[in-house]
């Protein structure tokens, strides 16, 4: 049976993986926006419509060779370990193999479009193996063609004598048709990002398109969003509607365009779910008889440990408790009798 420390460890690891993937997204954005010769940055979550009529929003979109070619990057903070789910994720990449339109106002379509899947080093080997086996299928042949690549990233600790930790992107599978990018990524050590990415640029965005783990959204709410509503350092509480929280959180989602109703709904749901979980863990509560209103204490959490550690511990405890309850089934109701005190008389005293 899975133990609480294992759950906690995985929970904290997922938090870090998502956070670092956001940093990688900021790094790639910074790479293209600083050097348009590599590729001209189009947008983050830019809406493209493929010729099948489906709307697609890659994490990063760019064009190169005078806007004749397109490049999309899809970032995955975590890929499923379950074979079936992993296959489903990879099959979904097919939507980017269909020619897309609406790259820029002046560029409606491109001659070719390349796709790069960026994943965590822990997931790279499994993903590449699965891609290799899937590429044999005719409908997944794009995975074997030029123009599809898988990159991974790592934050490397310095070796003796070297200066600092570094964030690097390196190729693990395939190639794009962008010669400049290929030259850069295929050099020994891959693409080395500027130090700024590890220092301040990583705080540019807080989310990527992919849904974050619950503990991540809860931490962002506790640290960056809910404290902005507090007006007094005194320990009190305030009532707030979920829409107000969403409005404040909006700027943390990377976007160069106004969201459509569906996207807004998705992101609002992330916040709703995180609030529900916080409530379940006893850190806030719902306002009675008022839908979508929450009572938030000041401060919502006071601890001398990192927040994600505390949240993960609480979540693991709640999860295991839930498991135990399920196994045991519904607990039988038991009759509880108050214990007799010295003042109480024995029932026989009343018989005479």
């Amino acid at each position: 049976m899975i133990s609480a420390p294992d759950i906690e460890q995985n929970c904290v690891r997922d938090f870090r993986k998502y956070s670092d993937t956001v940093a990688v997204c900021c790094a790639i954005y910074n790479l293209f926006s600083k050097d348009p010769d590599l590729a001209k940055f189009v947008g983050i979550e830019h809406s493209l419509r493929n010729t099948n009529g489906t709307l697609v929003t890659p994490d990063i979109a760019a064009t190169f060779e005078n806007d004749k070619r397109g490049l999309v990057l899809e970032l995955k903070w975590s890929l499923p370990s379950d074979e079936g789910l992993l296959e489903k994720e990879i099959r979904e990449l097919r939507k980017y193999a269909v020619p897309c339109l609406h790259w820029r106002k002046s560029v409606d379509k491109v001659d070719t479009q390349d796709l790069i899947l960026v994943c965590h080093i822990d997931d790279a080997q499994r993903t590449v193996d699965k891609i290799k086996s899937l590429s044999k299928d005719e409908d997944q042949s794009h995975l074997a063609r030029e123009g599809f690549a898988v990159w991974s990233w790592s934050i490397t600790p310095p070796k003796k004598g070297e200066r600092k930790e570094e964030l690097r992107l390196f190729p693990v599978y395939g190639k794009t048709r962008n010669q400049k990018i290929e030259k850069l990524i295929s050099q020994p050590g891959g693409i080395l990002f500027s130090e700024d990415v590890l220092t301040f640029l990583r705080f540019m965005f807080t989310f990527i398109k992919e849904k974050p783990p619950l503990q991540y959204t809860m931490t962002v709410l506790i640290q960056n969003i809910l404290p902005t509503f507090q007006r007094s350092p005194e320990r009190e509480s305030y009532d707030i509607h979920v829409d107000m929280i969403y409005e404040r959180a909006k700027s943390f989602f990377p976007s160069w365009h106004e969201y459509d109703a569906a996207t807004t709904q998705i992101k609002r749901r992330w916040i709703g779910e995180a609030l529900e979980k916080l409530c379940e863990l006893g850190l806030c509560c719902k306002v009675t008889h008022k839908d979508d209103w929450w009572k938030i204490p000041i401060p919502i959490l006071r601890t001398r440990k990192p927040i994600q550690d505390v949240l993960c511990k609480k979540m693991a405890k709640a999860y295991l408790k839930q498991l135990r309850t399920k196994k045991k089934g519904r607990p039988r109701s038991s009759v509880s009798r108050p214990k007799a005190t010295k003042k109480d008389k024995a029932i026989t005293d009343y018989l005479s």
């Binding site: 938090f15 870090r16 956070s19 670092d20 934050i155 600790p157 310095p158 200066r163 600092k164 930790e165 130090e195 700024d196 590890l198 220092t199 301040f200 640029l201 990583r202 705080f203 540019m204 965005f205 931490t219 506790i222 640290q223 960056n224 969003i225 404290p227 902005t228 509503f229 507090q230 007094s232 350092p233 005194e234 404040r248 700027s251 990377p254 976007s255 160069w256 365009h257 401060p299 959490l301 006071r302 601890t303 001398r304 440990k305 990192p306 927040i307 994600q308």
Partner: protein, 355 residues
């Protein structure tokens, strides 16, 4: 002792007379505070905070213009500390609280009161380089020579040399400056208190004073008018300059573009794992933190000020600590966090990062 002060003139004369004669007495403390509050609202702000209202009793009387007399009584354990002070609010955005009572009242009565009124009132935090700049300004203003006579600092060896010890270090010496410089070569220093003397060309003492890390200037001997002009006002000038530096740094979204205004504390040597693990451990005690990387030897964290609600991204890489205000990011919170980081890692050089 300040009961006989009725206006600014009588205050100047009172302190002038008191500190230009050699006598054993508590030094005059000038506590510099940054706030946009009106002094009249001080009592209300104390009353609003339940914990403060329980232990403090405050009386504020207007003397003349922006000058107030302040009486503070604090319950300390089962005892009381009480005393009087003069509150000068003549500089916009700054209060100077003058107090010539014993240090017990100044520390536990006055300083603690204003520290606990954060973020409505914030302290002035200055590091070694800023104290150095201030001393240079004082020296120029007096046209004399400034010498350090005493200092207290916290030191941490830069290397793993077993002969170098960490901990608090204090030194009384006629020319303590040399020792301070040599200490800074082998250790990371966090300066707490500096005593200094200003002498004229004939070696006569013009001023004996003290500057502390938390914005308290003390006058032990010398003209009060000169002390006010050349020390207090210079410290206020420095404070307002740094207030401007820390202000307006929140993360902004303008036409879809995200603007960050980070700043950094630079050190002359790189951090090692031990220091960064200590940073992880200590920063969590004062701030609500989520630590992304705990110091291997890269430190990245998101920290939130409990009282103010400001949040910051903090990273330590190589020999730089980078602070990126995220939401709210008030100048008070940014300044306090920078000070706390320097208390843990040692004083460094603070500068903006051009994005």
């Amino acid at each position: 002792m300040t009961a006989q002060i009725a206006d600014r003139l009588s205050m100047n004369l009172f302190f002038e007379k008191m500190y230009t004669t050699r006598q054993k007495r508590p030094p005059l403390k000038a506590l510099i505070l940054l706030t946009e509050l009106e002094p009249e609202s001080l009592r209300d702000f104390v009353q609003k905070r339940k914990k403060l209202a329980k232990i403090y009793n405050i009386n504020l009387n207007k003397l003349e213009g922006d000058l107030y007399s302040l009486n503070v009584k604090r319950l300390l354990w089962k005892d009381h500390v009480s005393g009087n002070a003069i509150l000068d609010a003549s500089c916009k955005g700054v209060w100077v609280v003058y107090c010539n009572e014993k240090s017990r009242f100044a520390r536990f009565g006055l300083e603690r009161l204003f520290t606990r009124l954060y973020p409505d009132i914030s302290r002035l935090y200055i590091n070694y380089l800023q104290i150095r700049t201030l001393l240079d300004n004082i020296k120029n203003a007096y046209h004399g020579q400034t010498t350090l006579t005493y200092f207290i600092l916290k030191r941490e060896p830069r290397s793993a040399d077993a002969r170098l010890r960490s901990g608090t270090f204090q030194l009384w010496e006629e020319n303590a400056e040399e020792e301070l410089r040599s200490q800074s070569k082998n250790y990371r220093l966090t300066i707490h208190i500096v005593n200094f003397e200003v002498k004229d060309g004939n070696d006569a003492i013009l001023l004996q004073g003290q500057i502390s890390r938390r914005g308290v200037c003390k006058l032990r001997f010398g003209s009060f008018a000169m002390f006010h002009e050349n020390v207090v006002l210079k410290a206020i000038g420095l404070g307002l300059k740094w207030k401007g530096f820390y202000g307006h740094r929140e993360r902004l979204v303008k036409d879809g573009e995200i603007l960050l205004r980070p700043f950094r504390i630079s050190y002359s040597s790189q951090f090692d794992e031990k220091q960064l693990y200590r940073l992880t451990e200590k920063i969590s005690k004062n701030y609500l933190c989520s630590i992304i990387h705990g110091g291997n030897p890269y430190f990245a964290a998101n920290v939130c000020d409990y009282f103010d609600g400001s949040s910051f991204g903090v990273t330590a890489l190589g020999n730089n600590v980078t602070i990126t205000p995220i939401t709210k990011g008030s100048h008070q919170a940014a300044w306090k966090l920078t000070n706390r980081l320097q208390e843990i890692l040692g004083d460094g050089e603070i500068a903006s990062i051009m994005g």
